[in-house]
Every structure is written in C-alpha cells, then in structure tokens.
C-alpha cells in the first residue's frame, strides 16, 4: 500500500479504490518525474555545457559541428585556474566584498524602509520620492560623473569604491518597505504602550521577523555585487583587489578568446553562489510569501 507523498490534494480528494489508487499514484509520480527531468535538462543544459567545455582544449570549444563531449577529458584548464593565485585571490576578495556589501545593504536599506513604512516625520513624502527615484536612473547616465565623484573622494582602487556607491538600493528598500507595511500593528502597539522606543521596536521586533525577507533581498545584493563588471574595471587597477568578473573578462579578446579557461573559470566561479542558493533556498520562497508583496 503506497501512500501518496505529494501535496496534490486534488488527487487525494478523488479517493479511488486502493488498487486503482496505486496505479494512478504511480503514474502521476512517473509523469512528475519526467516533468522534473525535462525541465531540469532544458534549464541546466547550458550550464552543463559550460562545465564540460572547461575540459576541452582552447580551439575545441569553438569547433563546428557542435559536440557536447570533448574528444579527451583534459582537466588542464581547471587545474590551471585552481592553481592560479590571482584567481583564488579574486574569488576571495569578491566573496568577502559581496558579504560585506550584502550585510551593509541590508542594514542601510532596512532602516530606511522601516522609517518610511512606520514612522511619521516631517517631509516624509519628499524623502520617499528622493529614495525611490534612483530606481529609474540608468547606470550609463551617471557612469562618468559618479566616477569623478569617487575619484575626488579618493576612493579609487579600494574595496570601498565597490561597496559604498551601490549599497543604498532603491529597489531593495522598496521591497523591504512593502514587508514592513504589512507587519501586524498589534505587537507594535503593545510595545509602545510598554514604553519601547521606535528604535527598540525596530531592532527587537521587526528585525527578528525579517529573517526570510532579508534572505531574498540579501541574495539579490550578493548577485549584483558578484556579477559587477564595468564598475570594477573602471575603478580597480591593483591586481590585489581584482574582482572575479574582471579576472574572467581577461580571457576574452577580439583576437582569439581563451574559451577553455573562460568556461572552466566561470564554472568554478559559479560554485560558491550555487552553494549559497542551495543553503538558503527554502527561505527564498518563504521570504516572498510573507513580504506581503501579494
């Protein structure tokens, strides 16, 4: 007697006889498994190709007709990348920078979101518009002028220049504010009656409840930092601070790319983020559910 383990309450509601239920249950499971496999293959196929291409020689990656598997599984690209101290350094620096960036961004954006969601103060409307407007400013419009600003502030070639300019994010603040607007008022009211300050309410009530939303917003920040390419190239010249996308970008050129190394490097570079996603995935969905965006 197999029990249906899926959450499909509709089929449970149908309650067929045991023998028929078995067959239908199995068939459903089989169909679902096929669905999972098909979707996974189509979604993961390009990535699998990327990982496998890392085992190919430089000129083999590009060759026609298209071939999925290499003639010979040569790990030399992967070995070269792993052994390259510049690569490890870039991974470390980028990872560290991404974590600091994420932590700071959560702190700054959540404070602003709370203030705009829950507090009343002079000129609130003005500040709201001020904080939300940067969402529509295309990066290209302020590329030159923001570079001038960071140059004048003496931030060039430091970790700060990669973190500070981008850490205040209108999009994330918007998302967090949405969440805070929907937090139940009752607990807050009770705390106020007990004499708690607004700040204490924020730190002792709102933040602990924000864990899941913070994961959603945090992963967004992390990805934005991790994938940044143009800004690091403009602002970072020292090899000690080179970011990972800069490093990978060096494999591309008008006159012949290092395809094998690029693929191997990209695959390895993707691993930490995949591990993070694996770890936090259940929070991602929860975080959206309670954010009240619905």
């Amino acid at each position: 007697m197999s029990t249906l383990t899926d959450t499909n309450t509709l089929s449970a509601a149908a309650t067929p006889s045991p023998a028929r239920g078995l067959r239908r249950g199995d068939r459903n499971r089989l169909l679902k498994l096929i669905g999972v496999i098909l979707i996974s293959i189509s979604v993961l196929f390009p990535l699998a190709w990327m990982a496998i291409a890392g085992f190919k020689g430089k000129t083999e990656v590009l060759r026609s007709p298209f071939q999925f598997f290499p003639d010979m599984w040569d790990p030399k690209n992967y070995i070269a990348i792993i052994q390259d101290p510049q690569f490890s350094r870039a991974m470390l620096v980028t990872f560290g920078g991404a974590l600091i960036f994420t932590a700071l961004s959560l702190a700054i954006n959540s404070m602003a979101a709370y203030a705009l969601a829950r507090l009343d103060f002079a000129f609130k409307r003005f500040w709201w518009v001020f904080c939300i407007m940067p969402m529509f400013v295309p990066g290209m419009a302020i590329l030159l002028t923001s570079f001038v600003v960071v140059a004048q502030l003496g931030m060039l070639d430091t970790l700060a220049v990669l973190i500070i300019p981008g850490v205040a994010s209108a999009v994330q603040m918007f998302f967090l504010r949405q969440f805070y607007l929907n937090m139940p008022v009752a607990v807050e009211e009770a705390a106020l009656i007990d004499g708690a300050s607004r700040w204490q309410i924020f730190t002792k009530i709102f933040i602990p409840q924000s864990a899941a939303v913070f994961v959603v917003v945090g992963i967004g920040s992390y990805m934005a930092y991790w994938n940044a390419y143009v800004w690091p190239i403009l602002t970072i010249t020292s090899p000690d601070l080179m970011q990972i996308q800069q490093f990978l970008g060096n494999f591309r050129s008008d006159r012949g790319n290092e395809w094998g190394l690029l693929m191997a490097g990209s695959t390895i570079a993707a691993l930490p983020t995949i591990i993070l996603v694996l770890f936090f995935q259940r929070y991602i969905v929860n975080g959206v559910r309670i954010s009240g965006i619905k």
Binding site: K58, T59, L62, R63, S64, P65, I100, L104, A107, I108, M111, L143, L144, T145, F147, V148, A151, Q152, L153, G154, M155, L156, D157, T158, L159, A160, I163, I164, S197, R198, W199, Q200, T203, Y229, V230, I233, L234, T237, S238, D240, L241, G249, N250, R252, S253, D254, R255, G256, N257
Partner: protein
Amino acid sequence: MHKRRNKAVAFAAAVVSTALVLTGCSAGGGTPTDGGTTNVTFWQQKFEDYQGVWFKKYVDEFNKSQDKVHVDYQVIPADTWAQKLQAAQAAGKQPDIATTNYGNIAAGVVNGQFAALDDYMPAESFSDIKENVASFVTIDGKHYAYPMLVEPSTVLYYNTDLVTAAGLDPNSPPTTWDELIDWSTKLTSGDVKGMTIASTAPDLGWSSWGLQYNACGHLPINDDWSKADATDPCFDKLLDFYKALYQGNLIPQQPKVGYADGSPYGNGEVAMMAGGSWVIGQLKNDFPDVLAKTQVAPFPSIDGDQTKPTATLGGWTLTLDSKSKNPQAAADFIQYLLAGDPAIMADFFKAAGYSKYTVRTSVDEALAADPDASADPFMQTISEKVVAYGKQEPGYPWDIALAMGTAIESAMKGTDTVEGSLATADAAINDVITKQGLAGTAPKK
C-alpha cells in the same frame, strides 16, 4: 530616551565608520613622486597575449635599468577601453601614455588630447620612421604619436589542401573578385564554407575600407569632408560583391567570432578567409597544423589590378597625454621602447610571429639579419604585395565608417537594395558632417 537616541546614533556611527575603514582598505596606491623617482602610468589596450608578455618584459627592464622613471603598466580590456579612458579623463586621472590607433590620432589632436612628441624626443627618432607611416602620425609638421607597427587589415588566406582537393591551383590564387567568388563556390562543400569575411556592420565599418578604395579609389566622402559620396556607382559593385558572398551561402551565415579572430579558418570550417595580417600570429600559436597548409596572397582586386589598394594599414602607436604632469619622463619611456635600440622592436616582431610590420628603417635592418624573419613564408609576400599598396586609415569619425558598414550589411542580408542601402548611408554621412561640423576639417595630405 537618551538610551534610545544613543543607540540609534551609535548604530549610524557604526555604519559610517565601517565605511571609513573600508576606504582605508586600499591596495596601496603609489604617489606621483617617490623621493626622486617619477611615476608615469601606461595603459595598454589588450591585444594578443604575447603582446602583454612583451610589454611587461620591457617595462620591467626599463624600470630596473634606471631609477629616475618608474612606469606603472596596466592592460585594459578592449570592450571597456573607451569608457575607462573617458572616465579617467573626466576625473583627471588619465594615463600619461596610452596605446592609440592611427585612425584616432587626427580627432585626438583636434581635441587637444595629445602632446607633440617633438618637444621631448630627439629628431633622429622621427627621421627613422618609414616614409609612408610618417604621415600617419604627423599633423601640421608635428608628431603626435610614435608608431609601433602596421598590420594590413585585409589579406587572403587559403588552405592549400582544400584548394587542391577542389581541383584548383594553390599557386595561382584568385586575383579578381569574380575569381574569388568562383573559388568560394568550388570550395564550399558539406559543412565547410569556401570563404569567410566580415558580415556585421561594426566589423564591416573598418575592414571594408581597403575594398572601398579598391572599388572607387576613394571613401564615401569627398576630399575636404564637406559632402558624402556614398552613391557613387562604383560602390554598387562593392556591395554586390559582399552580397554575392553572403547570399550565395559561400560564407558562414552566422559568424561566431568577429572579423579579427581567425579561429574558424584554423578549425577548418572555412577554406579561405579575409583577415588582417595578425591572424598569422594566431595561427602560429593555436593552429600550427593549419598554418603548415596555409598560403597568403593579396586580396583580389575588383579588376585584377594588383597595384590598387586592397587593405588599409591599421596599427598602433603610443601617445603622450597633453595634460601629463611628467611629459619628459613619459617620453623617455616611449623613446626607450619604440624609438631606441632596434633590437627591442625586432623582438616584438619576432614574438608576433612576423604577423605585424615594422615602421622604422633601423628595425627593418635588424630584422633583415634575423634568419627566422627571412625564412618566414608570409612576411615577404605581405610586405611586398600588401603593405606596399596599403592606404592610411581615415581619420573621420567612426559614425561615417559605421554608416557605410551598415549599408554593406543591409545589402548583404537583404533588408534593402544596394541602391537603397547606399542612399541611406549617404544621408547618414551628410548628417554626421553637419552635426559634427566636419566640412573643411580633413587633414591635409
């Protein structure tokens, strides 16, 4: 209540001080002058890897050989070069020395971007420059860049094995456009295409200059840049030629790499290719098997006249920024690297596999003594038959080249007729002339 406020203040302060600490986390930038040594910055646009190796070697040697000048060398990817350079200029952080294309010199001089090197370098350095190249870097009698190399933009490469298999004679390559189309047709079989040539507007913009000169003897603009000339009927034949190649399915229908990259030829996907001379270097490094079966020839001429230009002489120079704080120190490095001991440049051309060509007579002499150079099968053909007839790249704004490139692409892919495409280009070029005030600003020949 004080506690609450203090906590909020403390938190804000923590955030700010973290930021300040991070600002302090610098990688230790250098100061302009470190107790007597002058620092100059040198940005090289990324080309082939071997160039980076060569530059680094000689930068290090220069730095070690004396302690008056220290060169800070950086390689910048080509796709972000323009943004990075302009952002630096906006902030006053531009490099003292930068690699500059011949085509960008005229506009740079108009903008006041480059310093005249004559003030900082000895006259012999300039008289050493070969005659045809000297005009590329001279404006109003002054030299605003020091040339490093020329590399003709268009050479015909063909695979002798495939050619022989198709019943053609590898020793008499096509000399007219019609013959090229004929060869391409015979060489297209199975998955292998007979030919490859540029097929996207940005690539066509510059790689077709040589053929524009070949078809019409001039570019689609008049001599003093006051009026477009794209509707000259001789350009029709140029567009028809490209169109025949693409629509006849004689070239790959989708380029997987740009014009400058010779990998499809190296991989045996095409039997012939139009490419710059630098492809030889790529073949030597990555496709030695195919190199052994490769021969080169000047690109066919519209009517077979081999003295007509088929390629433009592209190439790179080093320029000195006019706002440099240490022009003499920077010029000293340029003098050392490009204009000094010919052996240094000879080493460069050797590292490049002789796929690029010299610009100084003294370097020519140094190479003449190099047995590898004389043994190189390609060098002689290209110097004598391609470089000798090559034309200078135009100095007009890129928008004009792109307009013409778009016309060719449009005809090739059938989005418009040949006449229509050229008419559109003509209008676009006239528009550029008006908006950018080009009339009368053409550099005097």
